[in-house]
């Protein structure tokens, strides 16, 4: 690395720019275990009462049930997105599909296309299919909207597998399906793991679809619960409570990121996005 430049001014500049984020995330953690007098910036007492929502269901509603629902939504996302994308990604990467160019182009366009603009159309589809106000509808929609991304990621991973493996399998008399299952899938395991984590995180953080497509469902997810706390009519906003619930809600996300950081970054960076 280039060394003969002064480091100090850079440190100052970047710290200043990052200050809002540092404050927000610093106080996010700090405020969950402290109390501050009104009108003061710094807390003056340590308390655990903001975490009472974990056992006192009157504080923020039934967070455990909401957490379970969120986990169901997130895991269902994995169950829909990963198998469907890995099959379609293989077909697109390696098999001689009719209209292959068209499919690829379509997937790419859909990948770039902002799916959220389709929400109104999706609403009608669910209404007509009788899936409006059900979690199944939300899962299917959310999964389908993530497919272009998933297929594209998986295609990238299949593309990186050497053709020789496949050719050797076919030479030895295995069918393409067997080759795919026994030889290729183990090669793209990192892709499957990364896509699973992505699908899980996407489902875990989702707010818009459950809120809009299943407002009357009794499967309240954490995002809807948390936002409901703030949108409630209470005059006194207990931000420390909101933050404690929020931190509780975000812990799995942070944990997953800490574990899979390197694998996720390559995908985030568009490395396999083309």
């Amino acid at each position: 690395m280039t060394r003969n430049f002064a480091l100090f001014p850079l440190m100052v500049v970047i710290t200043l720019i990052s200050l809002p984020l540092m404050v927000m995330y610093g106080f996010l953690i700090l405020d969950t275990v402290t109390d501050a007098p009104p009108g003061a910036l710094w807390p003056d007492e340590f308390t655990l009462r903001h975490w009472r929502f974990l056992w006192d269901m009157s504080a923020a509603g039934n967070v455990w049930k909401a957490t379970l629902n969120t986990a169901v939504l997130a895991l269902s996302m994995v169950a829909v997105v990963v198998p469907v994308s890995s099959l379609a990604g293989y077909a697109i990467a390696r098999l001689n599909l009719p209209y292959r160019r068209f499919f690829l182009g379509g997937i790419l366009v859909m990948h770039a296309f902002p799916a959220v603009t389709l929400l109104i159309g999706v609403f009608f589809v669910l209404k007509f299919a009788g899936l409006y106000n059900t979690m199944i509808g939300v899962i299917l929609v959310k999964g389908a909207l993530m497919l272009p991304f998933g297929i594209w990621i998986m295609k990238g991973f299949y593309d990186a597998v050497p053709w020789e493996i496949e050719m050797a399998g076919v030479q030895d008399g295995a069918s393409r399906l067997t080759v795919f299952r026994r030889l290729i899938l183990p090669q793209v395991k990192p892709g499957l793991v990364a896509l699973s984590v992505f699908a899980f995180l996407d489902g875990w953080g989702e707010y818009l679809l459950p809120r809009v497509l299943a407002p009357g469902s009794d499967m309240t997810v954490m995002s809807v619960l948390l936002n409901g706390l703030i949108a409630g009519d209470d005059i006194g906003y207990d931000f420390n409570l909101f933050k404690a619930v929020g931190v509780f809600y975000t812990l799995p996300v942070i944990a997953l990121f800490a574990i899979f950081q390197n694998r996720l970054m390559t995908i985030f960076g568009g490395g396999t996005k083309g």
Partner: protein
């Protein structure tokens, strides 16, 4: 090139004469694609098609989704009166008459009117018609079994009344026939107009687009959208992203990874919690207003209190999420620059600014183009963060096109969701989105990505 220079290719060409061969289509491929195609058809193509169709209707909560009926209501008559329906015709339509028939008796029986009373009505008045309800009530009063209380008598009599008003007809013919029977003096042309106006279902119309093209609100929404996308993109997604990437590039590894993790946080934080943090940061009683109060600056709810601060909040909070995308992408591109170029420039005495300006930035052209293209689309259509924070406020000063389309169709507090209008607004976004993503594919060399498979089994 001569055959001498490339004997292998030449030899191969001679051994295998050019034989156009259609590759066998992989059925396995289609089977593997099937689940994806099904889901994408249901939740991508179908919504696009439905958006396109409903954009040309006046579908809303009041028309309902599904088949409409034909209903003449007093309100409708008043509206038609404003448009030139004569008072005599309106009265004729509103006229009610009394017929004692089996249907009326059944209605009365279902409503719980005394059976002996009904039997007497059936014996004495069956098949009679009355021009006005008053005459019927008078006749009923003469009956031995009639209820004592005038109110009960009236409500029982009302059950025999028939009127076109407030009745639901499944077809236009049914309503027209009923109208003709009840008010034969109305001219057929007028009757047709009433029937047409009485349809409660959705109609095909280009009214949505005409409204969008003419109303003043549209210009402001478009202006807001441009300002929002332009400012967020240039200041944060590209500007701050590039700045952070370059600064972190020059920093030691530990500090660099610390800051890039910090800047990644807004992207991975669930959007609802991110909104909570910003509310805490900008609302009165929150961090910034308290800080401003302590140093003597104006202290109020910066997120919603004034137009300027609302805009600043909205752009910053979206920009902080966007900056990480640029940061990651630009950092990757920076690492691809050969370090020798930088060392050489240092030996030649280049300042850091010269290094950035002359060596780094020129090599960032493609990544910048990529980020711009990609993020323009996502900013153009994103509204979740805005919805959760400023929600277009104060008033509608920070509302953007996508948010307004969403609110028009799916989430407003007046209760009448205008699906048709929302679909029209969404259709504009869909068309712009499709056009931009096609351009973007062109730009980033689609054909290179589409290599043919090497095994054709």
């Amino acid at each position: 090139m001569s055959s001498f220079a490339d004997p292998i290719v030449d030899g191969a060409r001679r051994a295998r004469p050019v034989r156009p061969r259609r590759a066998p289509v992989s059925r396995l491929g289609l089977i593997l694609m099937a689940p994806a195609l099904l889901l994408l058809t249901l939740f991508f193509f179908l919504p696009v098609a439905l958006t396109g169709v409903f954009a040309f209707t006046d579908l809303s909560t009041s028309t309902g989704i599904g088949r409409g009926d034909y209903v003449v209501t007093p309100t409708l008559l008043r509206q038609l009166g404003d448009k030139g329906l004569s008072d005599t015709d309106a009265e004729a339509v509103a006229r009610s008459s009394v017929t004692v028939d089996a249907a009326g008796l059944a209605r009365a029986r279902a409503a719980g009117v005394d059976d002996r009373f009904l039997d007497e009505i059936e014996r004495r008045f069956m098949g009679r018609d009355y021009e006005a309800p008053a005459g019927f009530v008078r006749d009923l009063r003469g009956l031995r079994t009639a209820p004592r209380r005038p109110r009960d008598l009236k409500s029982a009599a009302a059950l025999f009344e028939t009127s076109v008003l407030n009745q639901r007809f499944a077809t236009s013919q049914a309503l027209a026939a009923q109208l003709e029977a009840m008010a034969p003096e109305i001219a057929p042309a007028v009757r047709a107009r009433i029937v047409e106006a009485s349809f409660t279902g959705a109609r095909f119309t280009t009214e949505n687009f005409r409204t969008l093209a003419t109303q003043k609100e549209t210009a402001r929404l478009v202006g807001n959208t441009f300002l929002y996308v332009g400012a967020t993109l240039s200041l944060f997604n590209v500007g701050l992203g590039l700045f952070l990437a370059v600064v972190l590039f020059y920093m030691p590894k530990g500090a660099s990874s610390l800051f890039s993790t910090l800047w990644l946080l807004p992207r991975i934080t669930p959007v609802v919690l991110y909104a909570v943090m910003w509310k805490w940061f900008t609302w009165e009683g929150g961090f910034l207003p308290i800080l401003a109060d302590q140093v003597g600056l104006p202290s109020f709810n910066y997120m919603k209190g004034s137009v300027v601060t609302a805009w600043a909040t909205m752009i910053t909070l979206n920009g902080f999420i966007g900056a990480s995308f640029g940061l990651i992408l630009f950092s990757g591109a920076l690492r691809a620059i050969p370090l020798q170029q930088l060392w050489a420039s240092e030996v030649d005495g280049a300042s850091r600014w010269q290094q950035v300006r002359r060596i780094i930035l020129p090599q960032m052209r493609w990544p910048i183009l990529f980020v711009t293209a990609y993020q323009t689309l996502s900013l153009l259509s994103s509204y979740e963060q805005i919805w959760l924070t400023t929600n277009g406020g104060p008033g509608r000063t920070t509302s953007v096109w996508a948010l307004e389309a969403f609110k028009t169709a799916l989430s407003n507090y007046t209760g009448n969701l205008e699906y048709g209008m929302g679909a029209a607004m969404a259709l504009v976004l869909v068309v712009v989105g499709l056009a931009l993503s096609l351009i973007y594919l062109r730009l980033f060399k689609f054909s290179e990505l589409v290599g043919r498979p090497k095994i054709e089994i």
